[in-house]
Structure formats: structure tokens, C-alpha cells
């Protein structure tokens, strides 16, 4: 039997994805995985925005989501460039081993 999929399902899915992303950022050590987790967080937020935009019948939310997609792409491009620079000087991409700057 096919269940009725409503707005609530999308919102819960987005919340779960966001939580997975946040946990990934905090728990993983590889920079690339952390960046993937951040992307997951941004896309979960995007899904939430789109769902609410449909709920409220507001086009502003849709355009907001498009802006976010563009911004996220720019952010990843810069992030990957930084990771390449890190890898060139250290031959690894493990955040736990980045400790030249003391606390």
C-alpha cells in the first residue's frame, strides 16, 4: 500500500539529513568527508526551504533555494582549493593533525 507523502515527511527527512551532516562534521577526521557533511547540511536546509515554500505557496523561497545552490558551489570550490594547498604542503588531509597554530 502506498503511503500518503506529505510536507511533514519532507521536513523530517531534511531534519535527519541535517543532523547526519552536523554529526559528520563533528566526528569525521578527513577534510573531504567533512566538506561532504557540510554540503549535506546545506542541502537539508534547502529541502526545508523548498518544502516550506510549497506549504506557504511563496515563490520567494524557491528563489532563495536557487541562490543557496549557487553560493554552496562557490564555497566548495574555494574549500577544495584550500584542501589542495594543504595536501601539497603536508601530504595528508587529516584535521586532527593540523596543529601548528597553538591554542
Amino acid at each position: 500500500m502506498l503511503m500518503n507523502i506529505g510536507f511533514g515527511h519532507f521536513l523530517v527527512l531534511a531534519a535527519v539529513l541535517f543532523a547526519i551532516g552536523a554529526a559528520g562534521v563533528l566526528l569525521r577526521k578527513n577534510v573531504l568527508i567533512i566538506m561532504m557533511s557540510i554540503e549535506l547540511m546545506l542541502n537539508a536546509a534547502n529541502l526545508t526551504i523548498i518544502t516550506f515554500a510549497r506549504m506557504h505557496g511563496d515563490l520567494g523561497g524557491h528563489s532563495f533555494a536557487m541562490v543557496v545552490i549557487a553560493v554552496a558551489a562557490a564555497e566548495v570550490a574555494v574549500g577544495l582549493a584550500i584542501v589542495v594547498a594543504i595536501f601539497r604542503t603536508r601530504r595528508h588531509a587529516d584535521v586532527d593533525k593540523l596543529n601548528i597554530l597553538k591554542h
Binding site: F18, V25, I49, T89, L101
Partner: protein, 485 residues
């Protein structure tokens, strides 16, 4: 929903910055292997042009006039133009610091200038934002550009590490900011902050509260409020000094500008800050912890850049006090915040200019002991640094004194003096902060030089070192005009 080209006039500061930023990034291609000082000159010209345009627009707007632009995406008012003028000036000062530092430390990179202006263009959007979407766009335009500036010294392991830490923390905060905005949007059904204000009372309370908390946390990251401050000392230490100066002065000011818009203006009032959405409750706690922890950590630092980083964290806490006062309806709240932002930004630029001056290629001279005896060899630099440090410590007759005084005074103006305890914490911490600022002053004036100091000589650097302390003193002696902005 039509595009009105007449509105373009009101975003002229942004257009000037963005256009000159893009042109400068392109121009870099034609300067390969040549002297980049011309690029710095163009950057200063572009940044100052945007400030001049801001001043012209400021004079055209009435004192409490506000004009919504582009279907309520941006807002044009005097507050916004004061801030855009400030960002232009700070970008110009940062561009003046860069050429000498680049030559002295061997990182001649022309892209620095174009990206500096692009970052400033993001800040200008934040100062004029009237919609959650434009706040997000402004935050990201600014942050992404500053990540790049932090990472510009590609072969420096310190620079790399600082950039990665800054990027990861910043992007993580962006996730929270966006999700918070999504929840607030879900509760009120619009991203336009003008309409959000009216619909807050009827919106879904659970979504609003969670969304608001996430947004507070994300902005706390951007202003480096404790406990979201861990990136700041590392990023400030690892970035090239002109970039650090720009981060400490302008990025913090821009984040506060966004908070002035979101919390102070659109979500302020008698009921909203503590009652309906309650953003003030977490913010007063963050302010208290930030002032205290920033100060105590600064005492332990021997590295001047890290000391200034923790000091700027502590200043961020005072700015949050002002923000709470403004949101809670203190009449002088906004004026005192703007005064504080101007005084703090110029002081920070001046202090980092001296840091850039004292170091040279062989030795960045960031250790406080290495500044011993600076006053006997380079009295002007020591004097400039002393004025800046006294201003940061909030001593009269500098602008730093009135900045703190007026922010705390506006906090006292709130109903029932509910922020009294916060003011008490702030005043005690101002006294503590004198200790570590004077430690550097004592080193400069009362200790004998053990090593010869060969500073980085440059007319532009000397200009920044002279102008910033003078303006801070002027602000302290004649504060009236600045407060009327």
C-alpha cells in the same frame, strides 16, 4: 515584482565595490611579474569612491527615512550608509597595508586586492539587507572572499592551516545559519524581514524558537563569540597581517551590521527579544561569557596577533551587549553601536598597521618580548601603538573610552535596567583588559632593546599608522558629531 532601475542608485556603493573588485581580479592577469603597487592604488581609489558615494547618499536620506529596494530585498537608510562608508574606508586602509607587507614577506599576490573589494561588497550587502536571502548572500560573499584572502600564502603551512580551520568552521556555521533561516521562514511564510516582524506573533512558536537559536549561534560564529570563537585566534595568527587586520576590523563589523538589521531593527521591541522569539536570552549569556573568556585568554598570550585576536573576541562581547540594548529598545542603542564599530575598526587597523611595520622578512616579531625598547628606536611607531592599545582598553581621551561608555550607557537605558549585571561584567573586564594592553606598552617603553629592529618602511604603512590614532583621538575629544551619525 518588477525590476526598478531607479533603485540602482541606492546600491551605488555596492556597485562601485563589486565592479572595481572584478576589474582588479582581471587586471592581475596583466601584471604578472610586474610591480603590483599600482593595483593597490586602484583598490584604494575604488574603496574610497564607494565611501564617497555612501556619504553622498547618506546626505540625501532623511534622518529616519528608509527606502525598500528591489522588492524588499535591500533597504536604504542612514544606518546602512554609515556602515558602507566605514567598510569602504577599512578596505582602503587594508589595501594600503598590503604592498609593503607583501614585499617584505615575499607573497606578492595581486589577487589580494580584487578579492578584498569583493569581500567589502559582501559587507555592503549585509549593511543594507532587508531579507533573509540577502543576509545569507552577503554573509557568504564576504566569508568566501575572506577564506581566499586567508589562504593566499599557499606555501605557508601556517597560512594553509589557518585557512582550512577558518573555512571549515565558517562553512559549518553557514549550515546552521541557513537551517535557522529555513525554520524561521517556515514559521512566518516570508523571507522579507519587514513582513517577518509583523507575523512573528502569529508564527509557529517551536519553529521560531529553534530557528532563532540556530541563527544566533551562526552569527556568534561570525563575530567570534565564545564558545564559537575557536577559529579566530588561529585564523588571525596564520593569515598575513593586512588580511588579519581586515578580518578583525571589517568582518566583525559586518557581522554585527547584519545582527543590527536582523535582531536590533526587525526583531527588536518590547516583547520580541525576550518574549515571543526570545533571541535576547541566549545573546546576553553569550555576551557575558565572550567578554570574560576573551579577556582572560588574552592575558596568557605572548604572541601579539593572538593577543589582539582574543582582545577582539572580547570587544565582540561588548558589541553584543550593545546589540541586546538596541533590541530591547534603548534609544541610544544604535548610535552607540555605530560609534563603537567605527572606533573599534579604526583602532584595530592602526594596531595591526604597527604590527606589520615592526616585522620584517627575517622575523615577523610577533612576540611581546621582541618589542622591548621599541620606543627608544622608533618612538612614532611606539606612540601609535600606545594610542591604539589605550583605545582598545577603553581609556580616555581616546574614542575607545566613549565607545565603551556609550554602549554601557545604552544598556543601562533599557527598561527596568535589566542589563545592569551585564554592564557590571563589562566594566570589570575593561579594567582587567588594561593589564594586558599595558604589558605591551611597558615592554615598548621601559625595557631595553636586546635586538636591533629593522622595520618595514613604507609611506602607505606610515600613513595608516598616523591617521588611525589621530582619528581615534579626535573621536575621543569631539565625540558629538560621530554620535549624531
Amino acid at each position: 515584482m518588477t525590476f526598478s532601475s531607479g533603485d540602482l542608485v541606492y546600491v551605488a556603493p555596492f556597485l562601485v565595490l563589486a565592479a572595481s573588485g572584478v576589474l582588479l581580479v582581471l587586471a592581475e592577469a596583466f601584471f604578472a611579474g610586474k610591480d603590483r603597487s599600482a593595483l593597490a592604488g586602484l583598490t584604494v581609489a575604488g574603496a574610497l569612491a564607494s565611501s564617497v558615494v555612501s556619504v553622498v547618499l547618506y546626505r540625501q536620506m532623511g534622518p529616519s527615512e528608509a527606502k525598500l529596494l528591489f522588492s524588499e530585498m535591500l533597504i536604504a537608510d542612514r544606518t546602512g550608509y554609515v556602515l558602507t562608508a566605514l567598510f569602504g574606508v577599512v578596505a582602503a586602509l587594508a589595501a594600503l597595508l598590503a604592498p609593503a607587507h607583501q614585499r617584505a614577506h615575499g607573497w606578492v599576490i595581486g589577487e589580494d586586492y580584487g578579492i578584498l573589494l569583493l569581500a567589502a561588497s559582501g559587507m555592503v550587502i549585509l549593511a543594507q539587507a532587508a531579507n533573509l536571502a540577502t543576509v545569507f548572500l552577503g554573509v557568504e560573499t564576504m566569508s568566501i572572499a575572506v577564506y581566499v584572502m586567508t589562504a593566499l600564502r599557499r606555501r605557508s603551512r601556517r597560512g594553509n592551516e589557518a585557512a582550512l580551520k577558518y573555512f571549515l568552521m565558517g562553512a559549518f556555521a553557514t549550515g546552521f545559519l541557513l537551517y535557522g533561516m529555513a525554520l524561521v521562514y517556515g514559521a512566518v511564510g516570508t523571507t522579507s524581514m519587514v513582513h517577518i516582524q509583523g507575523r512573528l506573533a502569529s508564527g509557529d512558536l517551536g519553529l521560531l524558537t529553534v530557528g532563532m537559536f540556530l541563527m544566533v549561534a551562526a552569527f556568534a560564529f561570525k563575530v567570534a563569540a565564545v564558545p564559537f570563537h575557536m577559529w579566530a585566534p588561529d585564523a588571525y595568527e596564520g593569515a598575513p597581517t593586512p588580511v588579519t587586520a581586515f578580518m578583525a576590523a571589517a568582518v566583525k563589523a559586518a557581522a554585527v551590521a547584519a545582527m543590527i538589521r536582523v535582531f536590533g531593527q526587525f526583531m527588536g521591541g518590547d516583547r520580541l527579544p525576550y518574549g515571543v522569539i526570545g533571541w535576547a536570552s541566549p545573546l546576553v549569556v553569550l555576551a557575558a561569557i565572550t567578554i570574560t573568556v576573551g579577556n582572560i585568554a588574552a592575558i596568557r598570550q605572548d604572541n601579539i596577533k593572538r593577543m589582539l585576536a582574543y582582545s577582539s573576541i572580547s570587544h565582540g562581547g561588548v558589541l553584543l551587549v550593545g546589540l541586546c540594548a538596541m533590541g530591547l529598545g534603548a534609544k541610544s542603542g544604535q548610535a552607540s553601536l555605530l560609534y563603537y564599530l567605527i572606533a573599534y575598526s579604526l583602532t584595530t587597523m592602526g594596531a595591526f598597521a604597527v604590527v606589520a611595520y615592526v616585522g620584517n622578512r627575517d622575523n615577523e616579531r610577533l612576540d611581546i618580548d621582541q618589542w622591548a625598547g621599541l620606543a627608544s628606536r622608533h618612538p612614532a611607531a611606539a606612540l601609535a601603538m600606545t594610542v591604539c592599545l589605550l583605545a582598545l582598553g577603553g581609556m580616555p581621551p581616546t574614542g575607545g573610552f566613549f565607545a565603551k561608555f556609550y554602549v554601557f550607557k545604552s544598556a543601562m537605558d533599557t527598561q527596568d535596567q535589566q542589563l545592569l549585571w551585564l554592564v557590571a561584567i563589562g566594566v570589570v573586564n575593561s579594567a582587567i583588559s588594561i593589564f594586558y594592553y599595558l604589558r605591551l606598552v611597558t615592554a615598548m617603553y621601559f625595557k631595553d632593546a636586546r635586538i636591533e629592529i629593522a622595520p618595514t618602511r613604507s609611506a602607505a604603512l606610515a600613513f595608516v599608522m598616523a591617521v588611525c590614532p589621530l582619528v581615534i583621538l579626535e573621536m575621543g575629544i569631539f565625540p558629538g558629531w560621530w554620535l549624531s551619525l
